[in-house]
Amino acid sequence: MRAGEIRVSINSDQDIVTARQKGRALAIELGFSTGDATLIATSISELARNIVTYARKGEITLMVIHSSSRQGISITASDRGPGIWDIRQAMKDGFSTSGSLGLGLPGVKRLMDQFEIDSEPGRGTVVTVKKWKL
């Protein structure tokens, strides 16, 4: 494990709360505003919820990231669940295969600065989002 890296395994709804609280604490520690910390915590909540709902278990990794001039936070949600068949469809607002409000992925993308998704049917899904400190 690298320094500044926090891993939270996601197995239940209680882990969703743990992950988002750790994310908020890290964001505040890095000097993010409480507003941005809330956006980060909310994104973690949605990503962790997708893991519990669709893959049952997985992991959230929080990392401190650096560019030449800025610091930020990176969140990776990974699972070995069923994967997403149609990523383009999943990135449309309101799309869901579980009767819920949707995967929330377009929303998470709006909350964060960068969004990447890699998913293969039958193998799992990895979503990485980043937020840079202003």
């Binding site: 988002r20 409480t34 956006l39 909310t42 949605e46 919820r49 949707g102 929330g104 929303g107 909350l111």
Partner: protein
């Protein structure tokens, strides 16, 4: 962590203490609806001032609570959504459509009392 429900005359007040899990929210939904029936309450205030995150599950559960309670003939008002939580909800595309909201407990009570007056 369970949400305490306080009875104040015809109104029930549920105050969220901190970060709630999905199970806590479902427990609250059951408890509130049961108590509205038991006490023949006419109004419910859900105070979310202390809530750190309002994600899709939490906002859906709050909407369901309000709709179930309306079917019982009572009114629900959500109070204390923090500005940064509201901002995140809008970005995420979450709404509390059809659910009354107020700034704080005091305004929520005033809203309910006005509603009761209109009905009586």
């Amino acid at each position: 962590m369970e949400v305490p429900i306080l009875k104040q005359g015809e109104v029930l007040i549920a105050t969220f203490q901190a970060a709630l899990s999905d199970a806590d929210l479902e427990h609250l939904r059951r408890g509130l609806v049961q108590q509205v029936v038991k006490f023949r309450s006419r109004g419910v205030i859900v105070d979310v001032t202390a809530m750190d995150v309002m994600d899709s599950f939490a906002s859906r559960t709050l909407r369901e609570i309000a709709h179930m309670i309306r079917l019982r003939g009572a009114e629900t008002v959500i109070v204390g959504i923090q500005p940064e939580v509201a901002f995140a909800m809008v970005q995420l595309g979450l709404t509390l459509e059809g659910v009354a909201t107020a700034l704080d407990l005091e305004e929520g009570l005033a809203y309910l009392i006005q509603k009761f007056k209109n009905i009586d």
